[in-house]
């Protein structure tokens, strides 16, 4: 069996966009999902880790927690334009997650913007364990 690797890939969805993320632990999964999320908004290559924000979310169950976590990141983006480069989960359990994200406010003169995300949806939302890996699928409304 292949080693679980921390990462994400974009998946196809008719009118929206989605990602599938993977990690060896819930912490890795949530960090990978955050990175997938940011890569949809802008090209991460141009984003610098200039400042650090602290983000927390709570919900009942892993699916809902992932939705709440990404929604918090989306709120940081919507309110302050913050886009992340590196993400570290400092504490995670089935009902609560806390993490830090290093990044900077989006600057259209320097960053390559991709797309505006309206919402992190519950549509086909799923967090599951498979072959020793933690995986998730999330669809974003764009």
């Amino acid at each position: 069996m292949a080693e679980p690797r921390r990462g994400f890939r974009e998946i196809d969805h008719t009118a929206d966009v989605g990602i599938e993320a993977e990690g060896a632990t819930p912490a890795e999964l949530f960090a990978a999902a955050a990175q997938g999320f940011y890569s949809l908004i802008a090209d991460p290559a141009g984003v610098a880790a200039k400042e650090e924000i602290s983000v927390a979310a709570s919900a009942s169950g892993w699916d809902e927690l992932l939705q709440a976590w990404l929604s918090e990141l989306l709120a940081e983006f919507n309110l302050r334009g913050f886009v992340g480069k590196d993400c570290a989960i400092t504490r995670i359990e089935a009902a609560r997650v806390h993490g830090t994200v290093k990044g900077e406010p989006l600057d259209l003169t320097r960053h390559r913007f991709h797309t505006e995300i309206k919402a992190v949806t519950y549509h086909e939302l799923k967090v599951w364990q498979e072959g020793g890996a933690w995986r998730a699928r999330v669809i974003f409304d764009v």
């Binding site: 309110l79 259209l108 991709h114 919402a119």
Partner: protein
Amino acid sequence: MKTGLVFEDLRKLIPHIVEALFAVIPSGVGGEGAIPKLTKDAEKRLLRDGAKWAVANGYGRAEDLEHTEEGGCLRGADAELISERALERGLKQVGTLGSGNHFLEIGRVDEIYTPQIANALGVFEGQVVVLIHSGSRGLGYQTCEDFLRVMNNAMTKYDIRLPDRQLAATPIRSAEGQDYLAAMAAAANYAWVNRQVIMSLAEKAFLKALDISPAALGFSLVYDVCHNIAKMEDHVVDGKKRRVCVHRKGATRAFPPHHPQIPSDYREIGQPILIPGDMARYSYLLVGAEAAMEQTFGSTCHGAGRVMSRAQSKKHSQAINIDREMERRGVVARYQGRATMAEEMPHAYKDVADVVETMDLAGVSKRVARLRPVGVVKG
């Protein structure tokens, strides 16, 4: 919006106009600052008053409200039900287009199907027209998100089960249902203000780019219609007149002639409907027809609909030069995000002509004119 201008006289100036529009109407991600940042109090007033707030603050004219669905204000809006986060997001986004499939388009009228109706609407062949497609922006997205949580709890409470978790429902007469309608009305009012302000900024951009008088430009609103809204309306169901909640999601209101909610100057022709196609082919101006009241709760289509997912479209777009392709098709395009453009290219959409023709044959809505894009501003 229609103008008094003819495309042939303006052909060479289109790039100049598109540039002016792009400069004054913020688009794309985080697009903000079209007008001075609102205070929270002003924002709450506009959520209550809708488009008349915009007119009172110098954006557009009072007669525009006559040509706006619901007069640009849905009654029963309650700004207190809009979360702090949603209010915060709304402060700087009035007058901005946003991203995704939202756009501003300059078109030329290239075919008239029903001359009598076109005439009544002041629309003629070769005329320069403007289409705006945008909505309640971040305030609306956030309100949706906030209420999904409310609805999730309500669904447990009322034992409602749905096939998809992104769907949510609650009895319309429940406290949650009434709150949602009042919050949605506030968001709808924000959307009307947004479009009213964009329209006014677009007029200014035209005036500046062409250096002509408002009278010479002749900019005026034909109609403003919603593409996603729930409203309490009277309809005949099983032979009886009933008050029902009609949710037009990806649908457009299409009231036939003589419906009481149509402005008096359009009463004989039916309510105008704007159907965007894709960025290069065409969009349509329609009017509502009789079968809509009998078969579709007074509704018609909303747009072309996609044939390719965003990811597929992006892949397809890699093989073409987006700018050159738009130019080849006679459209001057200015945009913030290349990825959005790649996802929104015409190949991603069905031919909207088929969609509006189907609606025409069904007697739900009637084609009045076809509009060909010549300039596009996108997020």
